[in-house]
């Protein structure tokens, strides 16, 4: 083959193509390094959870931190379960989060629907109230709420950890905006067929809102599973405490067994991680939609 003399145009294109390639390679290298930054603490945790206690600390300064040797299998989980009642607090967390999410989906969505679609006196006042309440952070309510719940004798119960978080102004608002965007024609069709508002909601609107429910379930789960400040205030014993608080046990009772702590942290992280990887799309959408109101 004889080489064609390249025109100036062609060399320019070729050099642009080379520059594009180079940029892409640089971008991938950067992204791999960043992925390392975000992943290494989690990998470290899972490895340490399966490793002998003493080596967790002594290996923590080098590459050996990422090698599960000496391997102890699930011994750390067993000993964490014994020292910090791991299974008990895990169960508590599941109960508390399920109730917050489950009840929350029902009450927030029907309120959002009423505000978006049903005609009744006082609706506009309620909409304004919900929007105003979004900006009140829970931390500003924690002290008076502690006082109220203590007076009611609710300390150290499940419901003191559940009821304050069921109704959520932000979720009501997000449901409200979602329902506003559902085409009215579908509901009108159902009405013409003689369905009342309740039937219309249950059989026509709610099924359409499945993505909104998924988003709210995931956001609600994410918030409730990680709760820390409120349980510190209202729980004392291990009986009703959620997972994140149990971590304190390891610090107050020496010796510090890092293998146990990491096993504990791993069990706290794993459920959310699994749910996240399955419903990734909804997580990302949920977070993006929580920013829309800005």
């Amino acid at each position: 083959m004889t080489a064609q003399p390249a025109t100036r145009e062609e060399t320019k294109l070729a050099s642009m193509e080379r520059a594009r390639r180079r940029n892409l390679i640089i971008q991938y290298i950067l992204m791999v390094l960043l992925a390392g930054f975000f992943l290494f603490p989690l990998v470290f945790m899972f490895v340490a959870a399966l490793k002998d206690d003493a080596s967790v600390l002594s290996d923590s300064g080098g590459v050996t931190a990422f090698i599960p040797d000496p391997w102890v299998g699930f011994d750390n989980f067993a000993s964490a379960a014994e020292r910090a009642s791991l299974w008990r607090v895990f169960f508590n967390s599941v109960i508390i989060s399920s109730f917050i999410v489950g009840l929350g989906l029902v009450v927030n969505s029907v309120f959002g629907y009423a505000l978006a679609r049903l005609r009744f006196r006082g609706r506009n006042v309620l909409i304004a109230m919900v929007i105003a309440l979004i900006i009140i952070p829970f931390e500003a309510l924690a002290v008076p709420l502690l006082y109220i719940t203590a007076e009611l004798g609710w300390l150290d119960t499940y419901h003191v950890q559940i009821l304050p978080f069921v109704a959520n102004a932000l979720f009501i608002y997000l449901f409200y905006t979602f329902f506003l965007n559902v085409p009215v024609s579908l509901e009108e069709a159902a009405r013409v067929d003689g369905a009342g508002p309740v039937r219309t909601f249950v059989s026509v609107v709610a099924p359409l809102a499945r993505p909104a429910y998924a988003t709210m379930a995931i956001l609600g789960f994410l918030f409730s599973w990680g709760q820390f400040l409120w349980p510190v205030l209202v729980t004392r014993g291990v009986d009703v405490r959620p997972l994140p608080l149990g971590i304190g046990v390891f610090k107050t009772t020496p010796p510090v067994q890092w293998g146990d702590i990491m096993a504990y942290a791993a069990l706290m992280t794993l459920p959310v991680l699994i749910i996240f990887l399955i419903f990734q799309r909804y997580f990302i959408q949920g977070v993006a939609s929580s920013g829309v109101k800005g």
Partner: protein, 313 residues
């Protein structure tokens, strides 16, 4: 509108319509009631009570009657050195974390916004710490930050041994360590919000700019930044508010909450130690009110800067 019919003139049809109206309004209240009652009981009532209690000497469990003390709680709080220590720790946290985290999040969003293979994978990885419970992240990082831990191993390599502080036992470096944990855990959240904002910037604007001969950097300054303005303001506000809510790390990571020597004490720790530790509900409520005022001011500032959709600049 039609004239109001007198009772006698009501046709059966109209009566049916007004009956439907009434039943619709009944359903509406039934739908609203559960959430409304919960909001009133657990948000509106405690919110009002916070103001009320902040003017009393109320204690958590006490046989003594509640007494009005005027603005004593506010005077005590604003005159307390530890409160200001906590406040300025929060401010220091904001000053460092807000610009760094926002810029970092924007950079990540731009990286995963390019239509290249594997971008969903990287987006997922960058977002993973967000779903990690803060309490877990805090213990993992407290091990990574120990004097002979992984962070220092990296620091010593990078700086040839010049920089390897005992992070969590140093009054200078304990708070920066928590800033790193906060950024590691939170930046993915901001990335996703900014990513959504980036994707809303119309492609034609970039095309027009590149026809006008604008460089990549000029496009970033003149098309991207104005285009994601509202998203950026939202991210900055939320990050600032979150920084004032800083609690989990300062409770878990140091040997003593807020330590060493109050160098990681925050307003939320002050609130918990006053309202719960010392059981001084009145003073705790005063801190809560001050905290709320800060959040309110930040939100109002945000509203002021956000431009309405379609408003001419």
């Amino acid at each position: 509108m039609t004239a109001v019919p007198t009772a006698g003139e009501k046709t059966p049809r109209k009566r049916a319509a007004s009956g439907a109206r009434k039943s619709e309004s009944r359903v509406a209240w039934a739908f609203s009631a559960p959430a409304l009652i919960l909001l009133l009981a657990f948000t509106v009532l405690p919110f009002a009570l916070a103001f009320f209690l902040s003017f009393t000497n109320q204690r958590l469990i006490s046989p003594l009657p509640t007494r009005f003390v005027g603005i004593d709680n506010y005077i005590d709080t604003l005159g307390s050195a530890t409160f200001w220590k906590a406040f300025f720790n929060n401010v220091w946290f904001v000053v460092v974390v807000v610009p760094v985290q926002t810029a970092f999040a924007l950079w990540l969003a731009i990286l995963v916004n390019r239509k290249i293979p594997g971008r969903v994978f990287f987006r997922t990885v960058f977002f993973l710490p967000v779903v990690t419970v803060m309490a877990a992240a805090a213990v993992i990082w407290s091990l990574l930050f120990n004097a002979n831990g992984l962070v220092n191993a990296i620091m010593e390599t990078v700086t040839f041994g010049a920089f390897s502080p005992d992070w969590l036992n140093s009054t200078t470096w304990a708070l920066p360590a928590m800033m790193i944990v906060g950024i590691w855990q939170g930046v993915g959240f901001q990335m996703v919000i900014l990513l959504a904002a980036l994707q809303d910037v119309p492609e034609v604007l970039y095309e027009a700019a590149s026809i006008d001969g604008a460089s990549r950097w000029e496009q970033f300054l003149n098309v991207t930044l104005p285009g994601i303005r509202n998203g950026l303001i939202f991210v900055i506000t939320v990050t600032t508010i979150l920084a004032f809510r800083l609690f989990d790390q300062v409770w878990i990571m140091p040997r003593v909450p807020g330590g060493p020597l109050d160098s990681t004490r925050t307003m939320m720790l002050e609130l918990v130690e006053t309202g719960f530790g010392a059981q001084a509900i009145g003073r705790g409520a005063a801190i809560a009110v001050i905290f709320f005022v800060i959040v309110l001011v930040l939100t109002l500032v945000q509203r002021r800067f956000v431009r309405e959709e379609g408003e001419v600049t």
